[in-house]
């Protein structure tokens, strides 16, 4: 399956991938409204780590053998074997943070406004994920490896 792979050699730390993720997961899909009008502001599912000259974007790897699915106590994390995507069913999430404890990439984080978690959903409704499209330096590659 195609996944989003980061390339730290050409990541410029501009955070446009996070902005694109916020816009994609907003109600209006409009950048101005998403940031200024929508309450709560949607949260980015990806995270740009940066220190000194190094930076890269981390998002859910949609693992073949997902530790988060194994540790979820409510069945909110499920692997969809058709698409390969690891889905988070927010309605079932209890905010126990077991998946946060299990994910070796730190790709799952607490939702700042609800007692649930947030993670990348691979933008299934788009031809390519929003973050990949927004990156100005091709630091995110969407391909099969």
């Amino acid at each position: 399956m195609k996944r989003v792979y980061p390339r730290e050699e050409v990541c410029i730390g501009c955070h446009l991938c996070e902005i694109a993720c916020i816009v994609e997961h907003s109600a209006s899909k409009d950048i101005i409204r998403a940031f200024k009008a929508e309450v709560p502001r949607p949260t980015a599912r990806n995270l740009v780590e940066e220190e000194g000259p190094v930076s890269f974007s981390v998002s859910c790897r949609h693992c073949n053998d997902p530790p988060c699915v194994q540790s979820c106590i409510s069945g909110a994390m499920v692997k969809d074997y058709q698409s390969g995507v690891v889905r988070h069913l927010e309605g079932k999430c209890m905010g126990c943070w077991s998946c946060i404890m299990a994910c070796p990439y730190g790709a799952i984080r607490k939702n700042p406004v609800r007692k649930t978690v947030i993670k990348c959903d691979l933008c299934l409704e788009r031809p390519i994920p929003a973050c990949v499209e927004a990156c100005p330096n091709r630091a995110l590659i969407f391909e099969e490896r």
Binding site: E8, R61, Q70, S74, G75, I100, C103, G106
Partner: protein
């Protein structure tokens, strides 16, 4: 190929999902003593506290078993395993033949001998039925004593407290959460729970339950202290339910012994979950690891191997994530090691109720405890499981925002640029 699974917990579901990755069609039968489809057992405290409704507790969708081609026998107990005949005897008299059998009976609460124990109003807290029983006390009982200050004991205490009951926790050790967490974490949580209104008594134990006309009136502790109460919850530990294999050739220790492929000493019979003894990656020996993620994973490996996959399970590490009144706590691996070969460092801010501790041995991360801030804790889990040499970034491990960026480039590249 007939697959039979005894037990309907998360290990059974892992097994179903493991089997179905390799064998899409052969029949699977699950024998479940409990009369419910699989539910998230750790969620019973949320249910008791009123934070979720009963419909929310189920772990998979209602039609899950049909979708996966699983025959579910609810409320049916397996009473005997006949390994030679490849059959399981059921409580309703039927005999269930199997080609591959998985024993996933889980654990049962340990009931210590205690004067006054027998009789009504003594509870344990491991099943959905336990929730129903305790639910009946709400509004009737005013005070409840919980024996045991471990994970289960504190969770049931928190839930009862949320429902308006005055709770006293009696713990034998000098701190709560003594198995899963370390002294400092225990102290932070203990103080916090006390601030919230629970009574926690340490270094004490209940020696007698006082009854009058059959009903509980109070408990007496080893130092003579008395606490009035109308009910008692016993939560001092869970032991593997190995009753079924007694008398068979299936070898046990504390739990059912398994090899790297989750198979028991009898070919074609497997064990997984709280009932099984598996390899502990950190201690380097076999033991029971009664935690949810390990149970699922063991079930998955057992199921895959039952279907002919032959993939070795590398072993478990203990890990717990639990939140008490707004303070999240996580412990991974060896949270409180004995012995001198370990290097332990921590950052502790008592006023802020923040604590972060790491345990290293020969530069390899062996354990971690986080209280208050647990963001991306899983990165530490990955370091422990993959035995990454942390020598070059030991200092950074204590940072709240420790990230992949602090790892050596080659380690990080391998993680992020290859097929996961």
């Amino acid at each position: 190929m007939e697959y039979v699974i005894i037990g309907s917990g998360v290990a059974a579901i892992g097994a179903v999902e493991g089997i179905r990755q390799w064998d899409a069609t052969s029949p699977i039968t699950i024998v479940s003593a409990e009369p419910y489809k699989v539910y998230g057992r750790p969620l019973i405290s949320h249910l008791l506290a009123g934070k979720i409704r009963e419909a929310d507790i189920f772990y998979r969708s209602d039609n899950y078993y049909d979708l996966k081609g699983v025959k579910l026998l609810l409320g049916t107990r397996a009473v005997q395993i006949l390994p030679d005949k490849r059959k399981v005897a059921l409580s309703d008299g039927r005999m269930l033949p199997f080609d591959r059998l998985l024993i996933a009976t889980g654990g049962i609460p340990f009931m210590p001998p205690l004067p006054g124990r027998d009789g009504p109003d003594v509870y344990t807290f491991t099943t959905l039925d336990d929730v129903r029983k305790l639910e009946a006390l709400i509004g009737k009982a005013k005070k409840i004593v919980v024996i045991g200050g471990g994970l289960i004991g504190l969770k049931v205490s928190e839930s009862l407290h949320d429902r308006g009951i005055r709770v006293t926790v009696v713990e034998l050790a000098d701190r709560i959460l003594s198995t899963a967490f370390d002294p400092i974490a225990g102290e932070i949580i203990g103080k916090h729970l006390t601030e919230m209104g629970m009574e926690i008594i340490l270094q004490n134990s209940v020696t007698e339950i006082v009854r009058e006309n059959g009903h509980i009136r109070a408990v007496i502790m080893s130092d003579g202290t008395r606490r009035d109460c109308e009910a008692v919850v016993i939560a001092i530990g869970v032991v593997p339910d190995i009753s079924l294999v007694e008398g068979t050739e299936i070898k046990t220790n504390r739990g059912i012994l398994t090899d790297d492929f989750m198979e028991t000493s009898v070919s074609g019979i497997y064990a997984a979950g709280d009932v099984a003894e598996v390899y502990d990656l950190l201690l380097g020996q076999r033991r029971v690891t009664p935690i949810w993620p390990a149970a699922y994973l063991q079930g998955q490996y057992a199921g895959s191997n039952m279907a002919g996959a032959k993939i070795a399970y590398r072993g478990s590490i203990p890990m717990n994530s639990i939140e008490f009144y707004g303070i999240p706590t996580v412990s991974i691996g060896l949270s409180n090691p004995a012995g001198e070969n370990y290097e332990v460092r921590h950052v502790y801010l008592p006023e802020k109720k923040l604590y972060r501790k790491i345990v290293l041995k020969d530069n390899i991360l062996m354990g971690a405890v986080l209280v208050g801030r647990i963001q991306r804790a899983g990165i530490l889990t990955g370091l422990i499981l993959n035995r990454i040499d942390c020598g070059s970034f030991q200092e950074e491990l204590l940072k709240d925002d420790f990230g992949l960026i602090n790892l050596p480039v080659e380690v990080r590249k391998k993680m992020l640029t290859t097929n996961p």
